[in-house]
């Protein structure tokens, strides 16, 4: 066999793609010809290098972003809408929870004694509960959530709840109320899940208006001034976010004053459907972003400014609450380059960080945040600043130390329209 032909067959020989007799001839040629033997050896080295290339594993962040985008596509109005198994399960669960919630609410408003409250309240509450319960238990939620989203042109898939409890709440009770996502479950399954949690969806304003109208209509039928409730809802939306969905309004009492407790549903209600592969806090981070960070914006900014620009190697950029160290080798997508540029000395930064934490502790500011930060090393604090929640979780940090459900409950004074309880922009 001539070398020219043998050279063409070296690859198939190595790949086991030559049949017996031909393979034998080529193998013998390689044994006898030093030049072809060298080429064969090179080929073996090359294939070894290629098969040894490491696999690229998608990060959780990449997977989440991909799924969000695809879900949006799957639920877009122009797409044929597949039957939504998860959603149906969610809707059924929501019905059960709503029924339980209705019973619990009934027990609360009747003081657990079943005693009839004052007539006016009783009539109003009876209407609200009855309608809500029938809407849920008749399967309306389930039937409509499996239809193409959104049902904004017709009947609402899940209606908001109007409660006239007149219950006197303490601030502590409101804290628990705010953390309780149970009442938002039906809203998540009916609205946020099909929208992939997209708060910028152009469908939301119409949907929101329908929900508000429904609440106002319930208020009107209960003999209340609907405009008063509208103002309370608008005040809450102005604080929480214009594209959130009002899911519940309760007439109750706080500090001796009559208040509207307005509860808004947001995409973070995803927490109600925990993925066994991800901690709930990670979901929260994915949906809530910097809004769900326990540390204040100013605090994070100060931290970033103190730590990142060492030697001017890392530029601190602040936009939309995100602070990224952009080292020259940095790759924001992968979280690489956390050590910054080549002049960065992590030990110095670590010392500076610890000193900074001690300083903060001495000032007595944000004690919760300080104690949580003290558990982190320098690299983890950079992950925190860069919003790399998945990396932070995988490094063993409990994300719950840094993340809270966004505040979605406000107590609005019925008489003055002022916020008596709940996070405001000025805080």
């Amino acid at each position: 066999m001539r070398c020219r032909k043998a050279l063409r067959l070296l690859g198939p020989l190595l790949d086991g793609e030559l049949k017996g007799e031909v393979a034998g001839i080529v193998r013998r040629h390689v044994e006898e010809c030093a030049s072809c033997a060298r080429r064969f050896s090179e080929l073996q080295s090359l294939v070894r290098e290629l098969t040894a290339l490491p696999e690229i594993v998608p990060t959780e962040d990449e997977s989440i972003r991909l799924l969000r985008r695809l879900r949006l596509e799957m639920t877009a109005p122009s797409q044929p809408h597949p039957r939504h198994l998860r959603l149906r399960t969610a809707a059924v669960t929501a019905c059960i929870l709503a029924a339980v919630f209705t019973v619990v609410t009934w027990a609360l408003v009747t003081g657990g004694r079943g005693k009839a409250p004052p007539e006016e309240i009783n009539a109003a509450r009876g209407t609200a509960i009855e309608e809500t319960a029938s809407g849920m238990t008749s399967g309306r939620g389930e039937a409509q959530t499996s239809a193409p989203y959104p049902q904004v042109a017709g009947e609402l898939a899940v209606r908001p709840l109007l409660l006239l409890s007149q219950k006197e709440y303490s601030s502590n009770e409101l804290e628990s109320y705010r953390e309780d996502l149970g009442t938002r479950m039906a809203f998540y399954s009916a609205y946020w899940y099909p929208l992939s949690g997209d708060v910028d969806s152009p469908l939301l304003p119409t949907l929101q208006e329908k929900l508000i109208s429904d609440l106002l209509e319930q208020a009107s039928r209960s003999g209340l001034n609907p405009e008063e409730l509208r103002k309370a809802i608008e005040t809450s939306l102005a604080q929480g976010g214009q594209n959130l969905l009002p899911c519940q309004a309760e007439l109750s009492r706080l500090q001796g004053r009559e208040v509207w407790l307005v509860s808004l549903s947001g995409p973070e209600d995803y927490l109600l459907f925990p993925d066994p592969q991800m901690p709930p806090a990670l979901h929260l981070a994915a949906w809530g972003g910097s809004e769900s960070l326990k540390l204040s914006d100013a605090f994070v900014k100060e931290l970033a400014e103190r730590l990142l620009p060492l030697g001017n190697r890392i530029a601190v950029s602040c936009s939309s609450g995100e602070y990224r160290g952009e080292g020259k080798e940095g790759s924001p997508e992968t979280g690489q380059g956390k050590q910054g540029g080549e002049g960065m000395v992590p030990e110095t930064a670590e010392e500076d960080f610890q000193a900074f934490i001690r300083e903060l502790a001495a000032q007595g500011s944000s004690m919760d945040a300080v104690s949580a930060l003290q558990k982190l090393n320098y690299e983890q604090i950079l992950m925190l600043l860069q919003g790399e929640w998945a990396a932070l979780a995988s490094s063993g940090v409990n994300l719950s130390d840094f993340l809270v459900p966004p505040h979605r409950l406000w107590a609005v004074d019925r008489a003055t329209g002022q916020i008596l309880w709940g996070k405001t922009h000025s805080q």
């Binding site: 290098e49 696999e55 991909l66 695809l70 809408h81 597949p82 039957r83 790759s331």
Partner: protein, 203 residues
């Protein structure tokens, strides 16, 4: 079947084709299962073809969006994985065409690549110097792959990295067995030529 094709082989549960049918019958979760199976496969292919992680993630998204729109035209004549590889390969070529920087031969293909790969576990208990050398060679290998013409690159990827045999590569790309052999031979010769210098330095 590919040693890296983790999409289907050795997996319990419904086959890819069953998942496709379930999705077409309206089960959205079935599509999400397909995404979960094949995202790593598509990411790896796109990364090796384009040499850049963010481009690979973009292509990954393009491929699955395309799949959503085209799944109804999947007739089941070919295996789903074969079809997906073909769609993905085309998406990589389209992306590269759109992106001038990946066509430029003069530009260093990927500054971030060696850094990204250094996080991956290394089976070898090499010395730091040896590890750095290995990283450098890997970087050079990736650069050389990125510079290959698309037709060589796709065959090389599918066979030497993806682990498909000649016949499977021919099926995926819709070319003859002879063309596969010829392109693979030329791709390897080119790569070997570029890496010869490193091998000689290492010996």
């Amino acid at each position: 079947m590919s040693k890296r094709d983790e999409g289907e082989e050795g997996r319990r549960g419904p086959s890819d084709e069953e998942l496709v049918r379930a999705y077409l019958d309206g089960d959205q979760r079935a599509f999400e299962e397909l995404v979960s199976r094949y995202q790593p496969v598509v990411m790896n292919m796109a990364y090796r073809m384009l040499g850049n992680r963010s481009d690979a993630a973009d292509v990954c998204q393009e491929v699955f969006l395309l799949l959503l729109r085209k799944l109804r035209s999947f007739r089941g004549e070919a295996k789903f994985s074969t079809w997906l590889y073909r769609v993905s390969m085309n998406a990589c070529h389209d992306h590269a065409r759109r992106s001038r920087r990946h066509l430029s031969l003069s530009e260093s293909p990927n500054e971030e690549m060696p850094e990204m790969e250094q996080r991956l576990p290394d089976d070898h208990s090499d010395s730091p110097e040896r590890s750095m050398e290995r990283e450098e060679v890997r970087g050079k290998v990736q650069e050389a792959i990125t510079r290959l013409p698309p037709k060589f690159k796709e065959v090389l990827y599918l066979h030497d990295i993806g682990g498909f045999d000649y016949k499977e590569v021919a099926q995926i790309l819709g070319i003859s067995l002879g063309t596969v052999k010829s392109r693979l031979n030329r791709a390897r010769n080119r790569l070997a030529g570029e890496l010869r210098e490193y091998w000689e330095q290492g010996t």
